[in-house]
Symmetry: D2
Subunit: 346 residues, 4 copies
C-alpha cells in the first residue's frame, strides 16, 4: 500500500526524529537505516518501529533497489559524497544542513543532483515552524508593505562541547546558517552584502578553536532592505529564536514558544516559565512538516519547499560573514568567490 | 509484545482520537472497535490502523476474552448500562464525560465498577492540558498560598445544533461540567454551595429547548474559598478557556493557546491571530496524556488521575447549578439529594 | 481672569489631589480650603499653593459669596448635610463617593441639589481612567456587539485599618461601590438583580467588624446581560483592577497599569515588575480628568459626566449586595426599598 | 522664595515643555524667555504663565544679572555660541541635543563650560524614561550579568519635512544620536568601533538631501560587548523605541508605551491600540524628570545626570557612523579625528 520507500543514513538524534515522523505516514515505508554505530541499542530502536534493515554501510541503502529516497542525517563531512552517490543511484534526497563546509563542494553536490534529475531538499526546518511561516505569509500577503528591515534573534541555550566546536565550521556555518536562510525566506529577496562582527564572551574555548560565540551580522538585500542578526551560543533562559520584519506598511514580529501560558503574580513580581529550552521541543512540529512536504513533493508532485540552491545561498552568506569578520569590512556576495580563492591561497 | 488489549465503544470524533492516541503506545493493542454506524467508511478507517475487529455490537467487545479495558465513547445515554456490563465482565473502563444526566444513575455506575474491582477513569481531559496542569502545580506547591478565589472562563466558539441541545442535558451538565471539575481540580477543595444565573442571549433556540446559553455560576468551597465560572455558547473569536486562581500569596492565571505568536503592527492597530478555535486542536496533547495515564495505571499501577467520584462530584455541582437557576437561590450540595427528590416529585 | 472660584471641604489625601489638579487650570481659582484638622502643616501646604483662606469651618466656604462650587472631600458621614447646605447656598457640588451609607439619605441629598438647581458630580474617578474609558468606547461603538457578560476584578493591595473597617459601611459600600458604578458604566444598562457571596479569608478583623474581605457578586442587567465582580481586600502583588466585557461580536479586556514594561529573562524565569500598587498612582490621570470635566460642565455647559443618580444607583446595588449576602438569596433592585424597610424594622 | 532663576532661550515646542515643567517647581522662577519669533502669540503664552520677560534677544537673558541658569532650546546651529556666551557670563546651562553638528565645536563648547566652572547638562531625555531607566537599573544591579549584546530599535512615526532634513545633519546626528547615547547608557561601557549601513527606502527626498532614512549600526564596546541599532524615519504604527540588553545571566527588554491596555477580540482577530505616536506624549515624564534633576544638581548639589562629555561621545559615534556609511567599512573611534580631518580636506 505504501507509495514511497525511504532509507535513513545516520540514526543520531535528528535521524531518529525523521524516522518517527516518516513512520506516521501510511504511504511511506522506512525500509532501512544505516549508522556507523549500529549496535544492540539501535537494533532495539529499529525493531520497535518495524524497520527491517539496519546496517553500518550507507551504501546498502544507496544501492537498495526498492528505496526511492534517502534522508542524509550523518555528519556534515559525509553529506557531499553521499549526495553524489545517491544522485548517481537515482535516489531522491533530503539532506540536513549545512550541505558542507565548502561553498564549492556544496555547489558540486547540487549539480550532481540536478544532473541526475533527483529532488534535493535541504533541512532548513525553521521555515516550517508555525511562527516563522506566519511571518513569511504576512510578508507575501503585503500586510507590511515593502520590506525595509529584517531582524533575527538567534541564541542557543547552551554552547556545544569543545570537540563539536572544533569540527563545526564555526558559528556562522554551524549555527547562523539557519538565520541566513530565514533572512532570505522572510525578506523574499537575495542577500547581496554582509558585514559581521564577532566576539568571544561566553567561553574562551571558542577562541581556542579560532571561533566566536557572539555575533552581529548586517545584511543588505537585493531589494535595498537591510537585515540584522544577533547570535549567541548561550542564552541562559532558553532557546531564543525571534524574527521581526519591518516595512513600509508596518511590522510583523514573532516571539518564542513557551511550555505554558501561566503567569504568577506574587509580592516578588510577575513571573512566567522560560521559553522551550531545546530545539527538538521547539521545532517538533516543523520537523514533521518538512518531511511531510518532502513526501508530498515525491508522491504528489508539489513543489520542493527548500532546494539545494537555498542551501548553497545560506552557505555563501555564512562564508561571506566569516570573511567579513576576518577582514573587518563589508563583503559583497559577488566578490565572494574571488575572496575565497585569495583566502585559500593566502 | 503488547501488555494491554483495548476495545473502543463508539467511533465518533472522540473515539477516533482515543484510538489514534492508543495506537502510538507499543504496549497497547486496539483489539476492536464497536459503533452503531459501522460501515464502509469506518472499515477503511479501522483497516488503515490495523484494527482487526469492527462491529455494531458493543457486547462483542465487552465479552471479548482478550480485551482488558474499554473506552466508552458512545452517546451519554449509553454510558451507565455499558459501565455496568463492562464492570460485570471485569473490564477496566475509561468513560467520556458526563457519565450520565442523572446523579443517581452515575452513582450506581460507579458503585458497579467499585464492586467489580475494575478501574474507572472519567474523561476530564482538561486536567491534562499543559496550562491547567501548571495552575494546579502552582496551587499545590503553595506558590499562591491559601486559595481565596477561583475564576474560570469557559466559552465555546459555536453553539451546537438544536438537535444536540435537546438531548444535551443543558449547559451545566453538557458544557460547564468540565469547569466544575476544573474548579475542584485547581482549588483542591470540594464545592459545598452553588448559585447560578442563566440567560438566553446567543440564540432563542436554547430557550425553545428549555436551556440557556450564557451563565454565571458562583461556587463556595469547603475551605471557604469562592469561585466563579462564566459560560457562553458562542465566543466569535474562538475557544476561550482560561483560569485564574487567587490566594493569600498571589495569583496564577493562564491564557488561551494560539496558532502562532505573530504580532502585526500597522496603521490600523496591533493585531494577532485568534486563539485556537476547536477543542480538538486545543486539547490534542491533553487527550494523548489522559489515555497515557490510564495505560500507566493499568500497566504500571500508578494512581488513576480522574476517578468515577470526580465524575460524580462534577455532576452533582451541575445538578445544583440547574436547580439554583430554577429556584433563583443558592443551593447547598448537602441538600441536593432532597431537592432532586422534590424536583422529581414536583 | 479666573472664571470659576472653588472651595474644598476636607483636605485629606484626596482633597489635596483635587486641589493640585484644580490649580493647574488657569480659569480656576481655589479660594479656600476647610478642614477639621487645619493647623500649621495645612497652612504651609495652602500657602505654597497661594490658597488664601484656610478654615476649620466648612460653613465659611459654603456661605462664601465668591465661591461658585465646592469639592466635598470630608468623611462620608458629613456628605449629606454638606450637600444640602451647599445646595441651599446655590453652590455647585463635586462630592466624593459614596454619597452616604444610606440609600434614603443619598436620595434626599440628590433631591436637594435638584431642587436648588445646582450641579452635583460624584467622584467615580475610574470612569475617567484611560483603560476603563476605552472599554466603554468600544462597547458604545458596537465593537463587541450586544453585551452578554461583564467581568470586573477589583482587589486592593492592602486591607484598611480596623478603625477604618468599623466605619466604612462594609466591603460593598466602601470598596465595591466603584465596581458597581463601573458595571453600569461599561454595560450601558441598569442592574436589576444582585446575588452576593462573601467570605472572611484575609483577616479575622473583618469578621470581628461584621464585615467580609472577599466577595463574588453576580449581577443581572436590564438588557439581559450578566455580570460578575470579584473583590478582595488584599492582593499582595498590588492594586488589581481589570474589566472584561464580552458580547455577541467579541470581547474587550483591559489589564492593570505597570510602572514600566521591562521583562527580565534569566535562568529563574521570565519576570516583570508588579502593577502600580497604590490607587493614587494608578488613577492620577483619572482624578485630573474628572475635575477637568466638572470645570468644563460649569464653565462651558458640557454634560455632567457622573451624576447624583449614578451615585444613588451604585449605592442601591451595594445595599442589595449586602442584603443578598445576609439572606443568601438573589435580591431584585425593585424589591430593595421594601427589604431595607423590613431589615430596618427586623 | 525661589532658589533658582532660569531663562529659556528658544520657545519652540521643546522650550515650552521645559518652561511648563520648570514652572511646577516652587523653588524655580522662570525669569524670562527669548525667541527670534517673539510676538503676540508668545506674549499671551508667557503672560498666562506669569513670565515677565519676553525678548527676541537671547543676550538679554545671558546678561541678566538675576538669572542663574539657561535652557538652550534654540536651533542646533546656535548652541555652541550660546553655550560659550552663557559660560562666560557664569550661567549654568541645560542644552538640547545635539550640541552641534561638529565634534570639534562641541568639544570647544564643553571646554568653555569647564573653564567657566558652570554646569552643562545635555538633553538626552530618554535616560529619564521609566522604561529605559529600568533597563539601566537591571544592568547596574547585575541582574543580567556581563553585557554581551545591546539591541536598540528606534523608529520615528513620520519623516520630517524636506526643509528640516536639509539642516538636520543627517539621520545619525539628528535622530540616532539618542540611540548612541542610550547604547552607552545601558551598556555601561564606551563604544570603540562603529559600522553603519544606510538605505533610502522611505522617501527619495532623503537621497536628494544626501541623507538616508533607514539604517543598521553595529557597535563594539570597550568591554567586548556588541551592539546594534536599527533606525527608520517612518514606522506607520507609531513611535517605536525599544531596547534589549542581553548578557551572561539573561536579558532585559522593554516595549513601547501604549495609550491603554485594551485588547479587543473579535472574529477578525485580537487587536489593540497602537503605541503612543508622538515623542512628546511618550516622553512627557522623562522631560519633567530631566529638568528636575538639573534643578536638584544646582540647588542641592547632586550629580549632573548627563554631562557635556555624554553629548560629545554620542556625537563622535554619530560622526563615525556617517563615515562608516560613506567608506563602507568599520570605523574605530580612535581613528575618528584623523578620518574627519582627511574627510574635511578631501
Amino acid at each position: 500500500m505504501s507509495n514511497l520507500k525511504i532509507g535513513i543514513i545516520g540514526a543520531g538524534r535528528i535521524g531518529k526524529i525523521h524516522a518517527d515522523n516518516l513512520l506516521r505516514h501510511p504511504e511511506v515505508e522506512v525500509v532501512g537505516v544505516s549508522d556507523l554505530f549500529a549496535g544492540p541499542e539501535l537494533e532495539a530502536w529499529a525493531a520497535a518501529r518495524g524497520i527491517g534493515l539496519l546496517t553500518k554501510d550507507a551504501n546498502e541503502l544507496i544501492q537498495h533497489p526498492e528505496i526511492d529516497a534517502l534522508f542524509i542525517c550523518s555528519s556534515t563531512d559525509t553529506h557531499v559524497p553521499l549526495i553524489k552517490q545517491a544522485a548517481k543511484a537515482g535516489k531522491h534526497i533530503f539532506c540536513e544542513k549545512p550541505v558542507s563546509l565548502s561553498v564549492a563542494e556544496t555547489a558540486e553536490a547540487i549539480e550532481a543532483a540536478a544532473q541526475a534529475g533527483v529532488k534535493l531538499q535541504i533541512g532548513f526546518n525553521r521555515r516550517f515552524d508555525h511562527n516563522f511561516k506566519r511571518v513569511r505569509e504576512h510578508v507575501e500577503a503585503g500586510t507590511i508593505g515593502d520590506v525595509h528591515i529584517v531582524k533575527i534573534t538567534s541564541r542557543d541555550p547552551n554552547p556545544p562541547s569543545k570537540d563539536y566546536i572544533q569540527v563545526s565550521g564555526g558559528l556562522f556555518i554551524d549555527m547562523a546558517i539557519h538565520d541566513f536562510d530565514m533572512a532570505r525566506f522572510v525578506a523574499g529577496s537575495e542577500v547581496t552584502e554582509v558585514f559581521a562582527q564577532g566576539s568571544v564572551l561566553v567561553d574562551p574555548a571558542f577562541a581556542a578553536c579560532g571561533d566566536i560565540d557572539t555575533a552581529i551580522v548586517t545584511l543588505k538585500f537585493a531589494n535595498g532592505a537591510l537585515g540584522v542578526i544577533d547570535n549567541s551560543r548561550q542564552a541562559v533562559y532558553g532557546y531564543d529564536q525571534r524574527v521581526e520584519v519591518f516595512g513600509s506598511r508596518g511590522s510583523v514580529a514573532i516571539a518564542n514558544d513557551y511550555p505554558n501560558s501561566a503567569v504568577v503574580s506574587t509580592a516578588a513580581g510577575i513571573v512566567s516559565d522560560k521559553p522551550l529550552h531545546f530545539f527538538l521541543e521547539r521545532y517538533m512540529g516543523a520537523y514533521a512538516d518538512e518531511s511531510r512536504q518532502f513526501i508530498d513533493c515525491l508522491v504528489r508532485g508539489t513543489a520542493l519547499p527548500v532546494t539545494g540552491e537555498d542551501g548553497l545561498q545560506a552557505e555563501r552568506i555564512a562564508a561571506a560573514a566569516k570573511l567579513s569578520c576576518k577582514l573587518n569590512r563589508s563583503v559583497k556576495l559577488e566578490e565572494l568567490d574571488e575572496l575565497l580563492l585569495q583566502s585559500a591561497q593566502g
